[in-house]
Amino acid sequence: MTIPSNKSNTRIILQLVALTVFMFGFGYALVPLYDTFCLAFGLNGKTGVTDNQSAVARGIDNTRWVTVQFTSHTASGLPWEFTPGQHSVKVRPGQLADAVYTAQNRAQRPVVGRATYSVAPAAAAVHFKKTECFCFTNQVLNPGELKEMPVRFVVDKDLPADIHTITLSYSFFNAEKYLSAKDKAQLGVVKADADGKS
């Protein structure tokens, strides 16, 4: 008989099982890896974050203007009116600038929304840095409440010379699904629009 001892089988099996588990973990590890990658390369319009000080530390490039354009989207299912307060602003690279979005709840009840943002073109995204932003956090608006949401940003001096227009887009979604029961009770939020799926 040449059937090898079970011992050597066990070893390979254990190695292969370890590889399987590792690859399952790797699937999950792709999530932070991807985020890092996105930030590094501006994939998907992910942008960098910075603080006020370091934003202006490198001085202003007075040789050119960059137009920053603002757009917004309110997803169905969020009974808000959400719009940029300005169509666009012209900025110098390296100069801190402010913009504002306004949101108003048109429903008869408090509603929680959450925003994501995206910057186009992708090549500009890494060079567009926000120091203040209302994204990825729950925003509660009471019936009829109007709220101004400020964005402070700086366009990096390293922005490629051929980019003259950058678009910043915010999309607001109903965040009710992501609230725990406790949050909901606290915020007094009730089930959102029936047409969440329309």
């Binding site: 590792f22 690859m23 999530v31 991807y34």
Partner: protein, 525 residues
């Protein structure tokens, strides 16, 4: 069985008979048969779904099914064919042939082998059962792209659970294959003496272990997004839908090679036999398979050029994808060189093998076209892509399996199949396949998107032709079932060698081989 004195005494004698034999079997031949029959069954089920799709697309307008059910059919057709027909089919070949080819008495882990198979029927009961839930089966495409799949009903959860079960089955099968190949080879069966089918399966098994868990991770994230408040992919919670596509295709592209590499192995067994010549460039064949497997990990984003990647990313994935043409080309050239100056005959297995080389190359070249990023923007998600992947998966994987089945059926059953009917099956399959899928290239170029239940009038003619081809292709496969059935039932007795002086240890055994083989390892020259 005169083997009672061997170490494996307890599994040998007294195996149950009837149904329990199949439920409890740990014999690689039994399990191989189970896998192959299961694969054939799923092939017919998935094929029936294709018939529904083609019947609806026979004419513009909605005739037979509503758009929602149509989407369920396209989704299920893909899932059933990939996870039910092709993957278990190849595992069936592996079970039957690997021990015979490397001179091993059985697979290394027989009980695990039994489990790997018996998970499958339950997985598919779950998957197919989802069609009968309220709201019907999964309808978001087999790729389960978020956020569409987050919207679906309970059927999506059942699909996720089924995918987990099929994944476990595949990974267990893959572990078994690797351990068998590493530990069970007969003395003298060096790695570089192994038949190419064994090589392709070894590499496939590693691919399976590397990527099936990643798919499991992706669908688990989908499940927690759907029910447990995570937001990996849902933009409403700060997630990123494109991330799902990256993870999915990190699995998905190696998966494509999981579906085709064993087919390359089968071709590399068949062609030398009927050319009466050794395989040309054995070492370069092995290297080419390994090269393809390696490249498969760095090309995934070519499935998603239109999601909006930075230029550098698009260029990287375009170049890496184009590189795959080189090892694939080497394989094609080597097969042609194997035929060159041989002494060729064209029994049914060879007919299938030659047509796979020919038709797969059409799919390979359209794949090269798809790799060209700017052009891909026009081809992406059109019928051009549908035509492409049917050329590689049907006339690659499926037809190679059919060739393999005709090649080894006499060995498995001890009877020759009906050569006349086999040839009929080949010609009808090859001709109707081309009638079905060649016009789809034109449809895609003309602008017909995939996964639509109804289309604009300028697409009518080619859809009519394609549907007629599909009905013919479907009917032809009933002939295949009949030929296999007839061969199992009886027929001319097959000799030990079956063919004209074929290479390989399996041909040194009687046809059919006894229930236990190579209890004493063969001597390798």
């Amino acid at each position: 069985m005169a083997t009672a004195e061997t170490a494996h005494h307890e599994h040998h004698d007294h195996h149950p008979t009837g149904l329990m034999r199949w439920v409890t079997t740990t014999n690689h031949k039994d399990i191989g048969t189970l896998y192959l029959l299961f694969s054939l069954l799923m092939f017919m089920v998935g094929g029936a779904m294709a018939m529904v799709i083609r019947a609806e697309l026979f004419q513009p307008g909605l005739q037979i099914v509503d758009p929602h059910f149509f989407n369920q059919m396209t989704t299920m057709h893909a899932l059933v064919m990939i996870f039910g027909a092709i993957m278990p089919g190849f595992v069936g070949f592996a079970n039957w042939m690997l021990p015979l080819m490397i001179g091993a008495p059985d697979m290394a882990l027989p009980r695990l082998n039994n489990w790997s198979f018996w998970i499958l029927p339950f997985g598919f009961a779950m998957l197919l059962g989802s069609l009968f839930t309220a709201g019907g089966g999964p309808a978001g495409g087999w790729t389960l792209y978020a956020p569409l799949s987050i919207q679906g009903g309970m059927s999506v959860d059942m699909t996720i659970f089924a995918v987990h079960m099929l994944g476990v089955s595949s990974v267990l099968g893959a572990i078994n294959v690797i351990v068998t190949i590493f530990n069970m080879r007969a003395p003298g069966m060096d790695l570089l003496k192994m038949p190419l089918f064994v090589w392709t399966w070894l590499i496939t098994a590693f691919l399976l272990i590397a990527v099936m868990p990643v798919l499991a991770g992706a669908v688990t994230m989908l499940l927690t997004d759907r029910h447990f408040g995570t937001a990996f992919f849902d933009p409403a919670g700060g997630g990123d839908p494109v991330l799902f596509q990256h993870i999915f295709w990190f699995f998905g592209h190696p998966e494509v090679y999981i579906l085709i590499l064993p087919a390359f192995g089968i071709l590399s067994e068949i062609i030398p036999t009927f050319a009466r010549k050794p395989l040309f460039g054995y070492v370069s064949m092995v290297l080419a398979v390994a090269g393809i497997a390696f490249l498969s990990f760095i090309v995934w984003a070519h499935h998603m050029f239109t999601v909006g990647m930075p230029l550098v990313g698009e260029l990287f994935f375009m170049y890496s994808t184009m590189l795959i043409a080189i090892p694939t080309g080497v394989k094609i050239f080597n097969w042609v060189a194997t035929m060159w100056r041989g002494s060729l005959t064209f029994e049914t297995p060879m007919l299938f093998a030659v047509s796979v080389v020919f038709l797969f190359t059409i799919g390979g070249l359209s794949g090269l076209m798809l790799a060209i990023t700017p052009a891909d923007f026009q081809y992406h998600d059109t019928y051009f892509v549908v035509a492409h992947f049917h050329y590689v998966l049907f006339s690659g994987a499926i037809m190679a399996m059919m060739g393999g089945a005709y090649y080894w059926l006499p060995k498995w059953t001890g009877h020759m199949y009906d050569e006349r009917l086999g040839k009929w099956h080949f010609w009808t399959t090859a001709i109707f396949f081309n009638i079905t899928f060649f016009p789809q290239h034109f449809l895609g170029l003309a602008g017909m998107p995939r996964r639509i239940p109804d289309y604009a009038l300028q697409f009518t003619e080619f859809n009519v032709i394609s549907s007629i081809g599909a009905f013919g292709l479907g009917i032809s496969q009933i002939l295949f079932v009949y030929v296999v059935y007839k061969c199992i039932q009886g027929g001319e007795r097959a000799t030990q060698e079956v063919w004209d002086n074929p290479r390989g240890l399996e041909w040194t055994l009687p046809s059919p081989p006894p229930y236990h083989t190579f209890e004493t390892p063969p001597v390798i020259k």
